[in-house]
Structure formats: structure tokens, C-alpha cells
């Protein structure tokens, strides 16, 4: 009889514990939300208009934008307690192409713990240790290849291709490729003797937000194109010409300006 009671007790304990475990899972399930990032491109505070020579940069260059292709990576949420949550670590990088509207959205696969977050940071481009040549085998990402002879084994892909035209000093419409990626250190004979990682982390201004359980929050990240050539360096297309992949000085100016390029657009709750 005692044996029967013991078996009954063990069975009861098992039921209780397995029941508790299930409740914990359910709690975790309901205490998280989802994040969707959208991307938009602006110039002078308004949505970018393509293929029209209607813009003037800080250096006085008239310019038009044809297309922008770029990588954002390592989006990180910063908690008020100093904690960091790296989003979608397996994918880690997202490709955005103004010719492909489907790329304007990055749905983060992680569940985001409900709560308040102090800020959002992102990496423009891809960190060197993750930027492996030929890691993207398929287009469109593979078309962003940054050749090894220009970037070494930690510079596999362009951070950005921003293609357009400017009115040059002879008042001719001339193409520019504002392409950013790993730069080269060169000796006096112009031989490559090292590489310069140009990717940068930036914190999006005013990016505090909260997310509730079962909420899907849509957050828009905006690239303000005019800012690439504005602060702190006034970038003049006449000075640097149409190509800068092998011009670290020009890329450095762009990268320094890049920290002012990104801002937060709309933040909305999609499902609650």
C-alpha cells in the first residue's frame, strides 16, 4: 500500500512539475513581441526623387540619384540597464536596394522581450570579421562584391553603392559612384600595403521605444542622402570625381559624414 502511495506521489510531482514548465514557456511566449524594420531614403527632408537633377549638396554640386544599394547589419537594442540585444545574429546583415522594393523590410526573426529600450544602434556596412569574400553566392547580394585585391579577406562586399550624376565644373552631367567599403593603405609607389575598415556603428537619435507582449512594432530607418556630403566634411564631387573605391581619403570623408546620415522615421504598432 505504501508502495502504491509512493508511486502516486511521484506521479503527482511529475504532473505538477511538467505543468509548471509548460506555464513558464507560455509566460515567455506572451512576454515578447516582434520587430520589423523598414527602410526609406530621403534628401533635404523629403522622400528621395530618383533620376532628377534637382538637388544641390553642401559643396554646391547639383546632383541626381539613380540607385542606392547598401548593407545594414548588427542592429542592436540597448536596455536601460546597459544590456544589449543583438538582433537576428544568424542573418546579421540585410541588403537594401532601391530597385527592389522587397528589400525595404527586414522582419527580425527573434522574439523581442517586452519592455522599454533606451536606444537602437546599427552597423553601416558589415564588420570586417564578418565580411568574408564570396560569402554571398546569390544575387542581388553577390553583386555587391568588393574585390579581395581592394579589400583583403575582411572586405568582401561593398557597404554601399550610391550611383548618380552631378553637374561637373564644365556643367556636364557626369556619373558618380559613391561606393564605400574597405579602403587601402598605399605606399609611395601606390602599392597596397594594408587595408582600412570603414564600416561604422551608429546610434539612431531619439530611438527609445517600448514593446509590449504580442505587439509587432514597425520601426523605419531613414537614410538622409544629402548628409553623406555635408557634415563634418563638405564633399565636392568635382574634387573626388566619379570613383572613390581606391581613394581612402574620399571614403574617409564619407564615412565620417555617415554618422549623421541615419535617423528614425515612423514607429508604429502593427498588431496588438
Amino acid at each position: 500500500m505504501l508502495k502504491f502511495q509512493f508511486i502516486l506521489f511521484v506521479f503527482g510531482v511529475f504532473i505538477i512539475f511538467s505543468s509548471c514548465t509548460k506555464n513558464d514557456d507560455q509566460d515567455n511566449e506572451v512576454k515578447s513581441g516582434k520587430l520589423v524594420f523598414n527602410f526609406e531614403h530621403f534628401a533635404n527632408g523629403e522622400e528621395l526623387s530618383y533620376d532628377q537633377m534637382i538637388y544641390t549638396n553642401a559643396a554646391g554640386n547639383q546632383y541626381e540619384v539613380s540607385e542606392i544599394q547598401w548593407f545594414i547589419s548588427d542592429i542592436t537594442l540597448h536596455g536601460k540597464d546597459g544590456s544589449k540585444l543583438l538582433l537576428d545574429p544568424e542573418k546579421f546583415a540585410h541588403y537594401i536596394d532601391t530597385n527592389i522594393p522587397e528589400t525595404f523590410t527586414w522582419s527580425i526573426s527573434d522574439k523581442i522581450p517586452a519592455g522599454e529600450y533606451q536606444s537602437i544602434s546599427m552597423t553601416f556596412g558589415i564588420r570586417g570579421e564578418k565580411n568574408k569574400p564570396y560569402m554571398f553566392t546569390d544575387p542581388p547580394e553577390s553583386n555587391m562584391l568588393w574585390p579581395m585585391n581592394l579589400g583583403g579577406d575582411q572586405g568582401g562586399y561593398h557597404y554601399m553603392k550610391l550611383n548618380g550624376f552631378w553637374k561637373n565644373k564644365d556643367n556636364q552631367r557626369e556619373p558618380f559612384n559613391f561606393h564605400l567599403g574597405v579602403g587601402q593603405e598605399r605606399d609611395a609607389d601606390n602599392n597596397v600595403i594594408g587595408f582600412v575598415q570603414n564600416w561604422f556603428e551608429t546610434e539612431l537619435p531619439n530611438s527609445a521605444f517600448s514593446i509590449e507582449k504580442n505587439e509587432t512594432k514597425s520601426i523605419t530607418i531613414r537614410m538622409n542622402v544629402d548628409k553623406w556630403w555635408d557634415q563634418p566634411n563638405i564633399y565636392n564631387h568635382d574634387e573626388h570625381g566619379g570613383k572613390i573605391m581606391q581613394n581612402q581619403n574620399a571614403m574617409r570623408m564619407g564615412v565620417e559624414n555617415g554618422k549623421n546620415v541615419f535617423s528614425l522615421g515612423k514607429m508604429t504598432s502593427i498588431v496588438k
Binding site: 553577390s142 550611383n163 550624376f165
Partner: protein
């Protein structure tokens, strides 16, 4: 007793069920050989380092070894044109010649300087010229961005058939993928100048195909759908990944100093070939560019603008793969350049500005990238490393011996 009665009833019932069940099985077994005897072997595209993983294989045409083999026979069979007289044969291989990287080639005895034309018509006794020069067939299985110089053939294309060539607007005569090119080639007046019915009947009349269609599709029936699918399977099987350059990437071969110099020019903004031709190991982005060849454009020209309607696509054509470029002259959609030297000279100092030029042609105001003679020689040396000799000699892609007299190539007739 109750149990016994129950058992006494249950046992016969169970036996009846078992027997009935067995009977059912035996009936099914009798049908099994017919239902399941068709079991083709899947054809696997090799998984090669750095090559794309997404393959353009439609769900309604999975590749099989038997389908690819049937496709190879049909690809080389000049009777696909619906004709049997020697001077009226035309197959896919009449123009797509293996030794020339599956293009006509400058040395083609039938198509002088690689300019192709169709079978004779009343209007064109010598054959109607095909509108554009050829594009390479190799590595089509990796292309997800449309086919043809302007990308008109693509998955979102809803057009059907062709009134001019008496092809009905039914679903099998689509403009979506490689399969589409088969009916287009059969019926075009500047290619085989046949009809679907005539060509299908010609293949149906050849006894050896019965077994091949059965192996590929389960029955001996010959129809257009099967012809197009099998040829498309064969075309998708033509993959090129063994050029010296590809072996260099895989660290299986070394480049000479001059080839390496050319490689570094190609993959830099000094020669700046790679933005259009080198994003992947396919040596093309499969994108469309106005590459600064012309100042003005014929509105009737079927360039990319005719597909997208975007003014920025005026004068734009596909950037073709440079794999086997040594063998695939003449170059550009209109064949205007006959040699690699002419091509290099063009990009070095021959660009012309138009309002539609693609911004990647950033040296257009300087007329090109301005290479010196040493640079040009090095760039040419690198381009020659893109030849895949294994592909052009592989029996896997060659004309089946029993079809040599039927394949319509002037060189083997």
C-alpha cells in the same frame, strides 16, 4: 460462454476483413507495376564553391538524368525543324556550338562572322537574319533575372503565343523561361521557320525517341510540352565552373604575373569591368546596362526599355557572362566588335555619352578607363583565363554520335 460467442463471431469477421484486405492489396499489386514503373533519376547540378545556390528550375520541370539525355538528343537533332532534307536541317546546336562556348563563333562555316540566320523562306531565300547576335547558354540554371538581351522572357511575363508565327495564346506557349525559347526557335521565321505541329510530327516519326520519351516522361507520347521541357533540362545542365580563373579562386591553379595584373585591373576601378561582369563567379550580374556604345537610340529597338518602359533603360542590354569570352565573338547585341582587342579598346577610349548612359559608366566623360598597352595586354590575358576547356570538350554536352548526320551543322555535314 459470452466471451466464446464474442470470439466466435469476431474471429470469422476478422478473417473476412483480413482476406478482403489481402484481396484489396493483391488488386493494388496488380496495378503497381504500371503506376510506379516510371521512376526517373534526379539530375543534380554540382554544388561548386562560390557558385549560386538558388537554381532556376521550374517546379513543373524537375531535372532528371533521362530528361537531360532526351534533351541532349533533341538539342542536336536537326529534324526538330520539321525537315529531313540535309540542306533544311536546323537544330539548337546549329547555332549553339559547343566548341564555341555554345555560340555560333566567328569560325562558323555556315554563319560567317557569327551572324546567324534562319532557314530559307520565300521572302528570304538565303534565310532571314536573326535580329540580334547570340547570348551564351552556359550557366543559365543560375540566371533568375530573365532571358534574352532585354530580359523579355521572364517569370512575370503574361504574354502568350505569337500571332505572326501562328502560335496560339495558350499556356504552354509562354515567355517565361528557357522552355519558352524552344517554341520561339521552332516557329520564328529567322530561325527554324517551322510550326509546332510539323516539328512534333517530325520527332514523333523517329523510332528511337519512343524509348527516350518513355524513360524521361513515363510514356512514349511525343508532344511539344515534353520537347520543350527536355531541351530546357539539357540547357540547364550546361554549367561552366572549370576555367582557369575558377580554379584559381578554388586555389587549384595559379595565374601568371600578367594574368594576375589583368585580374586586378578587371576587379578594380582602373578597368572597372567587375561592377557589371564580376559580382559573382558567373562573370555577370545578369543585369541590364546602357554601356555608352551610342549617342542616339532607335525607338523601335528592342532594348531593355521595351520591357520596363523606364526611360533610364533606353539603350540598355544584358551584361552577358564573360565565361568563354575568347570563343564567343562577335560581341555586343549587334556584334559590332569582332575581337577582344576591339572590346578592350572600346572600354578604354571609345565610350560615348548619352542621357541614358548607366551611372556605372563613370568614365564616360573621359571616353573610357584609359588603359595603356601593358594594361590592355594584361586585361586580355586575364579574359583568356575565363575559357572553360573542359566544358567545350565534355562528351556530356556533345552531339550523340548517331545524330551527327542530322544535326544541321555545316561543319559536320
Amino acid at each position: 460462454m459470452k466471451k466464446f460467442i464474442s470470439f466466435g463471431i469476431a474471429l470469422p469477421v476478422a478473417m473476412i476483413l483480413v482476406i478482403w484486405s489481402c484481396g484489396t492489396d493483391s488488386t493494388e499489386e496488380a496495378e503497381v507495376p504500371q503506376v510506379y514503373s516510371f521512376n526517373p533519376t534526379p539530375y543534380v547540378i554540382p554544388d561548386v564553391a562560390y557558385f549560386p545556390k538558388n537554381l532556376n528550375i521550374p517546379s513543373d520541370n524537375p531535372m532528371t538524368i533521362e530528361g537531360v539525355e532526351l534533351g541532349r538528343y533533341l538539342f542536336y537533332d536537326g529534324r526538330l525543324s520539321g525537315n529531313t532534307s540535309k540542306d533544311m536541317l536546323m537544330s539548337c546546336a546549329t547555332c549553339h556550338v559547343q566548341k564555341n562556348g555554345f555560340e555560333a563563333g566567328m569560325d562558323n562555316p555556315r554563319f560567317i562572322n557569327g551572324k546567324t540566320f534562319g532557314l530559307p523562306t520565300e521572302e528570304y531565300p538565303e534565310g532571314e537574319p536573326t535580329p540580334n547576335y547570340m547570348l551564351p547558354l552556359v550557366n543559365s540554371v543560375y540566371n533568375q533575372n530573365g532571358f534574352g538581351w532585354n530580359g523579355f522572357i521572364n517569370e512575370s511575363n503574361e504574354y502568350r503565343g505569337n500571332e505572326e508565327f501562328n502560335v496560339p495564346a495558350t499556356k504552354e506557349f509562354h515567355y517565361k523561361n528557357i522552355e519558352s525559347m524552344v517554341w520561339m526557335s521552332i516557329t520564328a521565321s529567322h530561325e527554324m521557320n517551322s510550326t509546332i505541329e510539323k516539328s512534333v510530327a517530325a520527332i514523333d516519326a523517329i523510332p528511337m525517341y519512343k524509348a527516350k520519351f518513355k524513360a524521361a516522361f513515363g510514356t512514349e507520347d511525343v508532344n511539344y510540352d515534353r520537347i520543350s521541357k527536355s531541351i530546357a533540362q539539357f540547357v540547364r545542365s550546361i554549367v561552366s565552373y572549370n576555367s582557369k580563373f575558377h580554379k584559381y579562386l578554388r586555389q587549384e591553379a595559379d595565374l601568371t604575373a600578367q594574368e594576375k595584373k589583368g585580374h586586378d585591373l578587371f576587379f578594380s576601378e582602373d578597368a572597372d569591368c567587375f561592377h557589371c561582369h564580376g559580382g559573382s563567379v558567373l562573370m555577370t550580374t545578369n543585369e541590364y546596362f546602357n554601356n555608352a556604345k551610342d549617342k542616339s537610340f532607335d525607338p523601335k529597338e528592342k532594348n531593355r526599355f521595351s520591357v520596363t518602359g523606364d526611360p533610364m533603360d533606353i539603350g540598355a542590354f544584358r551584361a552577358p557572362s564573360l565565361i568563354n569570352i575568347e570563343l564567343t565573338a562577335p560581341y555586343m547585341h549587334d556584334g559590332r566588335f569582332k575581337t577582344l582587342d576591339e572590346i578592350i579598346d572600346f572600354y578604354s577610349e571609345g565610350l560615348v555619352y548619352s542621357d541614358y548612359v548607366h551611372p556605372l559608366m563613370k568614365n564616360v566623360r573621359q571616353k573610357g578607363v584609359q588603359l595603356n598597352d601593358d594594361d590592355k595586354a594584361a586585361l586580355k590575358a586575364f579574359l583568356l583565363t575565363l575559357t572553360d576547356n573542359e566544358l567545350i570538350q565534355s562528351p556530356q554536352y556533345a552531339c550523340p554520335p548517331e545524330l551527327v548526320k542530322w544535326n544541321g551543322q555545316a561543319s559536320v555535314n
